[in-house]
């Protein structure tokens, strides 16, 4: 019996020591010496020199969608790298997800208090409820205390400010969303870049006659919806557009006329064949092949076209119909593409979050996104080396256009979520669908989501 006690005791000791070791090494933090003494500074047998206390490494977890395939991925990684070099006590752990998947992932993680510390996500859909729901912290005080007050563009901050005055997140990515005209296709067809819808119809006919296709769009997903609404808004002032797209008053004559305009243009053949079955990637692929006259891509695609095509692209707005309240072709422009949201978990590491946000929003760091990816910066003054700028981004700064209010600003959130699936735009782009059918579907959609 005694013989057994010794090995059992040893085994228990080993297990206990293993358990204690495991408990004593948390995953998120690792003690490291802030400075390491030279090997020769103390004899090997002497006790450790208490010149500096071990510093807890703080891990900042960030979820975003700027992976290696995104033009903003490289500048973001360079910022992470430089930040960690400047702050050795902070480790950035970034995880890349599909943009549309991030909100639900954050919400489920938040329910278990496992959300990341910072989230880079678009201010569209459910993130707009995060401040109210306690998933994100308002950043009003942080902007003031961290020296960012007065640096943000007013339009950017306004978009992120709720009705009660709370600022939901730090605005990060702005964009313009113009119409891309391939000048070589227009030259081949012998028509000018259109500024009115009559000219657009004539141009579409000429382009088709020359063997090319007019406007490509992703009719089967949520991106095509923005072209549908842009066409509507070419005929509507912002306040009227709000009544249709925001309040769902689709029986108003102005809303009916706008949908009828879309149907008239579609039936006149201004959209490419089979556009109702295309997704965004396929639409991109088709446009970049070079035999399509027009497309509706945002600033996030400025770095994507092949070089030989890039010089042929002229950016502009959507042509105006007769009776339009706008003075120039319309585009969308917004800062909703990306905000930086601070979560309660981030709030528990506020010192590290403060350092990171201050580093990210240094004008010279934001300039990396502008120069490498053509991103519209949210700050007023960003020093940019003009020679490094994307030519399409430069063009976008001087486009003769008028900005229509992005419908994201007035969609009811639940309507926006359903529209985002693309099923309405797909219906609208399908030849043969009448204005009455589209209006009925829109009415039903808004009714169901009151």
């Amino acid at each position: 019996m005694n013989k057994k006690i010794i090995p059992i005791s040893i085994a228990l000791l080993v297990i206990a020591s293993l358990v204690m070791t495991a408990c004593g090494s948390p995953q998120a933090t690792a003690p490291v010496a802030a400075t390491s003494a030279p090997a020769t500074s103390a004899p090997a047998t002497s006790a450790p020199v208490a010149t500096s206390a071990p510093v807890e490494k703080v891990t900042l977890t960030i979820w975003h969608n700027w992976g290696p395939d995104d033009a903003k991925g490289a500048p973001l990684q360079s910022i992470f790298k430089d930040f960690m070099a400047a702050n050795p006590d902070i480790v950035i752990k970034d995880e890349v997800y599909v943009d549309a998947d991030i909100p639900l992932k954050v919400e489920t993680a938040s329910a278990a208090n496992q959300e990341p510390d910072l989230v880079f996500v678009q201010r569209v859909g459910s993130p707009q409820t995060w401040t109210e729901a306690g998933i994100a912290l308002p950043v009003n005080d942080l902007i003031k205390e961290w020296g960012l007050d007065g640096q943000f563009k007013e339009a950017a901050l306004k978009e992120y400010t709720l009705a009660d005055g709370k600022i939901q997140a730090f605005p990060l990515e702005g964009y313009t969303w113009p119409i891309w005209y391939n000048t070589s296709v227009f030259e081949k067809a012998g028509v000018p870049i259109p500024t009115t819808t009559d000219e657009l119809i004539a141009a579409a006919k000429a382009i088709r006659a020359a063997g090319d296709q007019p406007i490509i769009a992703s009719g089967s997903d949520g991106m095509g919806l923005y072209l549908f609404t842009l066409v509507l808004q070419s005929l509507l002032p912002d306040e009227e557009a709000k009544k249709c797209l925001g309040d769902g008053q689709w029986t108003l004559p102005s809303c009916v006329s706008a949908v009828e305009l879309f149907v008239q243009l579609r039936d006149a053949g201004v959209f490419a064949d089979n556009v109702e079955g295309l997704d965004f990637a396929t639409a991109n692929e088709n446009y970049f092949a070079g035999n399509v006259g027009m497309s509706h891509f945002g600033a996030w695609s400025f770095a994507d076209p092949p070089k030989d095509l890039q010089s042929k692209i002229q950016l502009g707005g959507f042509p105006l119909p007769a009776g339009s309240p706008h003075r120039a072709p319309v585009i969308y422009s917004s800062f909703s593409a990306k905000g930086v949201w601070v979560t309660p978990n981030g709030g528990a590491k506020m010192d590290a979050v403060k350092k990171f946000i201050q580093f990210l929003y240094k004008p010279e760091n934001l300039a990396r996104f502008v120069e490498q990816a053509g991103m519209t910066p949210p700050l007023k003054d960003v020093p940019i080396d003009a020679s490094k700028l994307n030519p399409l981004f430069v063009q976008s700064l001087t486009m003769p256009v008028e900005v229509a209010m992005t419908p994201d600003d007035f969609y009811p959130p639940k309507v926006q979520a359903e529209l985002g699936t693309g099923k309405l735009s797909q219906l609208a782009f399908t030849p043969g669908t009448t204005a009455e059918q589209i209006l009925a579907d829109l009415t039903a959609l808004y009714e169901a989501n009151k």
């Binding site: 639900l104 919400e107 489920t108 938040s110 329910a111 459910s126 409820t129 995060w130 729901a133 306690g134 998933i135 009719g219 089967s220 064949d273 089979n274 109702e276 079955g277 295309l278 396929t282 639940k414 979520a417 359903e418 985002g420 699936t421 693309g422 099923k423 309405l424 797909q426 219906l427 399908t430 669908t433 059918q437 579907d441 039903a444 009714e447 169901a448 989501n449």
Partner: protein, 313 residues
């Protein structure tokens, strides 16, 4: 008296036997309960509790995981009654069920019967038939996306054989989208169920077939007049399986390929439940739809069981 005295020990014996028998029965019941208890606990925790939770959530206003649940009974069910999408979803689900069951099971049964005859090469055919079941839903969606896209295989084939007028945007056209999705379920379902039928048909004694052949019956007659009646009970089970898959599981392919569109042409109850829960974040309402699905499921299963039982016996 003497007889009575003799009866007392006999009665005592009977009583002790009865008590002994009762004790045995009680012990067996306790053993049975102890052995069944873990499974019962599992059922209560992971089956019954979520079911009750579904019923509870259906009576609440819950517009996001992070937001509180507020009791609003019977608002979700009133909304359900007035929701214009519900009749559309019911109609589409009905069409899907009709073609998804009639288009799969008779053909699967025929293939299963053919396999059960053990003709040369049946092993290879069995593997080929079953292979669509090994493809994940996402991969299946990619295969059919390639088939149905504007410049996909189907349109290219139609163009090649001179039937350009028949080309469509199969998933983008309101009149073809639902049919295109049902075709995927038919393609992937026939092989799977044929292997199930094959396994069940192998239990039928070959002597029955041989006797029928001696009487001059052909394979078609044997299949439908002998094998099918003997398989009716199993057929009922398979109908239930396919019914349950289409009712809720088939929403996966809708999510991956059409999101219920274009318009509402592929809006099914299963997809509507998903979209209300995860896209629109109307959790309480989505569970009210789930309750409707659950009730439909129970009623139709009872109906199928009743029909197959009556036909079998």
């Amino acid at each position: 008296m003497a007889a009575a005295n003799q009866a007392i020990p006999a009665a005592k014996e009977v009583n002790s036997n009865a008590m002994y028998h009762r004790r045995i029965v009680q012990r067996r019941q306790i053993t049975f309960f102890l052995l069944a208890f873990p499974a019962l606990l599992w059922f209560l925790a992971f089956m019954l509790w979520p079911l009750l939770n579904m019923l509870y959530i259906s009576t609440t206003l819950w517009d996001g995981l992070a937001l509180p649940q507020i009791s609003n009974f019977p608002d979700n069910f009133i909304r359900l009654y007035h929701d214009p999408n519900i009749p559309i979803a019911l109609r589409n689900t009905g069409i899907h069920l009709l073609f998804g069951i009639l288009g799969v099971l008779p053909f699967a049964f025929m293939l299963g019967f053919f396999l059960s005859l053990h003709k040369p090469g049946y092993r290879i055919l069995r593997t080929i038939f079953f292979s669509p079941s090994l493809i994940s839903v996402a991969a299946l969606a990619m295969i059919f996306l390639g088939l149905y896209r504007p410049a996909g295989m189907l349109n290219s084939f139609l163009n090649t054989v001179g039937l350009s007028s028949l080309t469509r945007i199969w998933l983008g056209n309101q009149s073809t989208a639902l049919g295109a999705l049902i075709a995927i379920d038919i393609w992937s379902g026939i092989g799977f169920y044929s292997v199930l039928f094959f396994a069940a048909l192998t239990n039928i004694p070959e002597e029955l077939y041989e006797a029928a052949m001696l009487d001059g019956a052909g394979y078609w007659t044997i299949m439908w007049k002998i094998a099918f009646p003997l398989m009716l009970d199993f057929f009922g089970v398979v109908v239930i399986l396919q019914f349950l898959y289409i009712l809720s599981g088939a929403a996966q392919i809708v999510i991956l390929l059409t999101n219920g569109g274009p318009g509402t042409s592929t809006l099914t109850l299963g997809y509507y439940l998903y979209s209300q829960a995860f896209l629109v974040q109307r959790m309480g309402y989505s569970q009210a739809i789930a309750v409707v699905l659950f009730i439909i499921g129970i009623l139709v299963i009872l109906l199928i069981r009743r029909i197959s039982f009556r036909l079998s016996y």
